[in-house]
């Protein structure tokens, strides 16, 4: 079937390509002719996930063209962001707030969504500056403070040189002016979402953002709110560069199962049916009037489509109905409450597995009286797997005790991508390139010489596997340790592991965070595969280019994944220690001075002599007692008289 479709696609591609060239030429004339304006687009992508969950990906894009008044006068674009870009000369920046961990195994790791929107837990911030080398750190520190105020988060903790690093080449937007920092323990909640929403012209008052019902989105399994801005080069002299601000919110939600009491034999294989109301508790009642486009997409990923095609074929065989491949997508194994305005099918050139399908719904058609509430009802049970990154990365700690340990990064081949490798397998020297970027705080003192590499459980010489390595060792209380590596693994690799040993350092008492006994977080390592590109290429079309989300999907970005954040228990002191020390010191001082004074004042020999004399004089016990008694009485009498007086 795929073979039949191929020539048709190619022909169309050739035609559209020619048309596109013409259109682009026309477009540029148009741009010069009329002044560009600030734009805003809102989009939502929904995608069923294999483990009965639903992914919702909100994508809002505001753009400001290059102009002389950027940072001062704005119509739609948020003034605060523009001023931030002008003040700190930010070339590119990304800030993400995440709660929960992206489940690479079941939610996939190869699509554009996980590879650019799956983020490490907590806050991640990186920025590229357009300033001279010596000013970058100052700009970064000011930027962290500003963002901290803007987003009500403790991003200002990234100000300290111990928390951020400057990756040289392993982080994808690699550049010398890049700074990267994470706060794994930052809690994310509505106080961060509200300022983020304030950057949208309609906030959550109208348009797709109405769906952002706080209780539903924070109930989800994964929640990542991201802000990415790029400043585009200035058009001409005296113009301030334009800015593209991309705000995304990715949530993974569990739809409440609507069908109760339906007794299917394979109940647990039945995907839950859902609708916007059932997952968000709200529905879209119109667009944000300021948005240039306002669309909702439903994405069926490659695995699901392949499975559906397979099921469809079986059906065809058994029932012998005259289904053709053409009406397959119009009569699929599920039902949608609304008719899609358009169906995009992925241009499938590399992946044998099938091509993803995208349904587009335009929100403009709906209004308050007729709100948009997309619902999806499955008719048959489907089981599928999401496409994985070539290797699945996980990271863990080894060793015990509070003195030393080891960090291990384990890479396991995912069976799914085998076919992928097969394509290159005829080549004798087939290599799989893996970039590893890891930042370790200074109190975890890593011994870089102890790096060991295992491939398929066999130890290997480092020089065989590691093609390039860049290490900047940590300095105590000054900078974290950074390790960047390029690994060249054989294509047929089943598993690979890296281990590195470390000693746990001691902190000064005021460097411990509150609740130090919980342990210290080591930020996630980033594993990227520069030879694999997460992109979905759709048939070139006018509407694809107009949609920022779809054009984002078409960009060739390397596949990236984050490992888990590690929790290292460090020796924590007894925090009442200073007071114990003070007490002990004072006791020692008191003993010293007391005995010294005693030695200086008392004349031991003389006293002994007098005592002896006394003993010789008054031997009678009775007299001794009497004298004592009289002395006491006298004392009491004296005291009494004193009190009276």
């Amino acid at each position: 079937m795929a073979l039949l479709q191929r020539p048709f696609f190619v022909l169309l591609l050739v035609l559209t390509h020619q048309f596109m060239q013409y259109w682009i030429a026309f477009g540029s004339v148009n741009e010069e002719g009329q002044k560009q304006e600030e734009e805003f687009n809102e989009e939502l992508l929904l995608k069923p996930l294999p483990d009965r969950k639903v992914l919702a990906h909100f994508h809002f894009q505001s753009s400001a063209p290059p102009s002389t008044s950027n940072g001062r006068h704005h119509h739609i674009f948020p003034k605060a962001i523009s001023q931030l870009v002008q003040k700190f000369r930010v070339k590119e920046m990304e800030l993400s707030f995440t709660q929960g961990r992206w489940n690479y195994e079941s939610w996939g790791g190869f699509d554009p969504i996980p590879s650019s929107n799956a983020k490490p837990p907590g806050v991640e911030l990186w920025a590229v500056f357009d300033v001279p080398q010596h000013q970058i750190d100052a700009s970064w520190q000011n930027l962290t403070h500003t963002l901290s105020g803007l987003f009500c988060a403790s991003i200002n903790f990234l100000e300290s040189t111990t928390t951020y690093s400057a990756p040289e080449w392993s982080f994808p937007p690699a550049s010398g002016n890049l700074r990267y920092g994470t706060l794994p323990r930052e809690a994310v909640c509505t106080e961060n979402l509200t300022p983020w929403l304030k950057l949208l012209p309609c906030r959550d008052k109208a348009g797709i953002a109405v769906l952002l019902d706080r209780p539903s989105i924070y109930r989800g399994f994964y929640h990542s709110q991201r802000l990415h801005l790029t400043s585009t080069g200035s058009g001409s002299e005296g113009m301030v560069s334009g800015i593209i601000l991309e705000q995304t919110l990715t949530v993974v939600l569990q739809p409440n199962s609507q069908r109760a009491g339906m007794a299917y034999a394979s109940e647990r294989h039945i995907q839950p049916s859902w609708s916007l109301t059932s997952i968000f508790g709200k529905q879209v009642s119109g667009t944000c009037v300021l948005a240039k486009s306002s669309n909702v997409y439903l994405l069926l990923d490659r695995g699901l489509v392949a499975e559906l095609e397979h099921l469809h074929k079986e059906n065809e065989k058994s029932a012998e109905n005259g289904f053709t491949s053409q009406n397959f997508w119009t009569k699929p194994s599920f039902e949608l409450s609304a008719d899609p305005d358009r169906i995009f099918i992925e241009e499938n050139s590399l992946h044998s597995k099938g091509s993803s399908v995208l349904y587009k719904f335009q929100v403009e058609k709906y209004s308050e009286s007729e709100p948009f509430d997309l619902s999806l009802t499955w008719k048959i049970p489907v089981v599928w797997l999401s496409q994985q990154a070539p290797l699945h990365a996980s990271r863990f700690l080894m060793g015990s005790g509070n003195e030393r340990g080891a960090i291990a990064i384990s890479l396991k081949s995912t069976q799914l991508s085998e076919g992928f490798m097969g394509a290159n397998a005829d080549d004798e020297r087939c290599d799989l390139q893996v970039n590893v970027f890891q930042v370790v705080p200074w109190y975890v003192k890593v011994y870089f010489h102890s790096l060991q590499v295992f491939v398929n459980q066999q130890p290997k010489a480092i020089s065989d596997i590691i093609e390039k390595i860049h290490v900047s060792p940590s300095k105590d209380k000054v900078s974290p340790g950074v390790m960047e590596m390029v690994l060249k693994l054989p294509c047929k690799v089943n598993s690979a592991a890296l281990t590195i040993e470390f000693d746990k350092g001691f902190l000064h008492i005021d460097e411990y965070p509150p609740d130090a006994n919980q342990g210290f977080d080591i930020p996630s390592a980033i594993i990227s595969f520069p030879n694999f590109h997460a992109s979905m290429i759709f048939l070139k079309d006018d509407s694809v280019n107009k949609s920022p989300l779809l054009s984002k999907f078409q960009e060739k970005s390397p596949v990236m994944s984050y490992t888990e954040a590690l929790l290292v228990p460090l020796t924590t002191p007894d925090f009442s220690m200073p007071y114990n020390v003070i007490t002990i010191t004072c006791t020692v001082f008191a003993l010293y001075f007391g005995s010294l004074l005693n030695v200086l004042r008392r004349r031991v020999a003389e006293e002994e002599r007098f005592l002896k004399e006394k003993a010789a004089k008054k031997t009678g016990r009775l007299s001794l007692l009497l004298s004592k008694l009289s002395a006491k009485l006298r004392g009491a009498w004296n005291e009494g008289s004193l009190r009276v007086s």
Binding site: S69, Q83, L150, P201, V581
Partner: protein
Amino acid sequence: MAEISEAHDSDSSKSTDNASEAPTQPESEPEFNPKLMRKTKPGLKRLFLTFSVLFSFLLGLQFLWKSVEIYRSPLPFREIDSLSTQLGSDHLIFPLHFHALFVGFDSDPDRLRLSILSEITKLTSQNPKCSHNYTLSVTVDSGSHCLHSPTTSPHSCSYQCGSITAIDFDQNDDVAIDERLVPVFGGKTNEYSVVVVKGESERAVVGKNRRAWVVVGSGREVEIAVVKVAEVLVKVFVNGGREEGSIRNEFMPVGADGRIVLSFNLLNADPRDWVYDWDFRKIDNNLLAPMIEALGPVANISVESQVLYHTPKASFSYWDQQLQSYVFSTKDLPFFVNSNEWHLDTSIAAGGRSKILQFVVYVPSAKECPLLLQLPNGEISNTNGFISPMWGGVIVWNPQGCLKDDNKPTARRTIPMQDLENMFEVFTGQFRQLFGFKSVNIYAGASGVWNLLPSERGFTEWELDVLSRQHTCFNLHSCASTLGSLSRLVQSLPRMIIMDEIGKQVKFSLEAAKLAQSNASNGVYESSAASSRQARSLAEDAFFHPSIMSVSYYSFEHCFAVYSL
């Protein structure tokens, strides 16, 4: 208790024993053991030991003292004190030169001068902070010759005798007369001149520059003229024509770093009804730029604008059948600004201590259009706007006819340029009000009404002079009090680290303050305002230096915690 008393007892018994035993010494002599008797003289060794311990302790104390010593940059405390005493004892005196020109009179200039001076002293209210030192010269131009008083005045020299006549004032175009007067008194002089002429149509006008003229009718013209001249000099040229106590002088909408950010916001209450946009860049270049330039010495002003959507007001209006519109009454004004939904935002571009003035154009939604503001006396506000001192101003702008375009509600419309210009006139008035000036062009004094000519820059030259003087005065006092507090704070906390940077800032602040003082006493208002602004901002920077802020809440008890040292 028992032990102590026992010890006491044993001590006392010992002493009594000693005393009693002294005579009995010979008796116990035979029992004396020579082995136990000390051989050396008592005290010397013991004394030596005691002193050596004491000495080593003192030696160690010095080391300890040295090790916990902290760095304190020397601050010029004496100069700070002298600055505040100088300002306190009325040393900031602004010299003002007045010139009264009587055209077509033939009175004695000396007598006129004395009577004007006596009127001026009657009117002058002593400002406790800053005073003015004025000199007055009077010229009487009787057509054929001129008489000066005092004859040696250096300021009246610029006037060429006979260059103006009463005929010049016959025309009704005040602007033209104002232009005509510029070359007469020389283009660039700091003196304030009043021209008195005889004529039919009595009027009193204050020009855009530092000139005013009075046309008096026949009769007791000299007496009236003297009162009027004194009033215009004191009330208008010196005090800026504002009423006493309307807005206090301390209410200066200028940030501590001498900057103002004018943030203009266009609020579309409900964009589903209509979306209005504006061409702010044009307004900024054409209308605001001259005013900002004029106010340059007083404050460093920057302008920014944004358009916000979905921003309803916080309170409700009611439908008035008579006016065919929705009416919002004055008593509800505090609830007009909706701080939950109007995310006007502080500016990132502005520094931490800049003053941000928000100017808001509110476009009501279709269900409350047209929206009018009602004054307390029941009338409808002409400007349809209000100010909030130190915050900014709000104008309600109703779209033409309040017509909702049902076919294309989402189309972005632009506010017509004419409406925008009217709006910015109101904003200029509001801005003037925030600075304490009147928004109307009339000054009603005790002796009559003065017509004030408005400037296209928003502020006339004499108003700018008033602002400059007032700012210099306010800034210098604020600088002195800030530095005074800093020096008191530093002296009260001997354990506080003082960075070199603070010392430098204090030094520069004092230098700038001195420069401002000397400029003020020479009558150079603009540069004195600028350097006083610098002095104040440096003083504030020094006081709010982050290293001080962290230590100023440091309590003495912390010294006991070993680890915090």
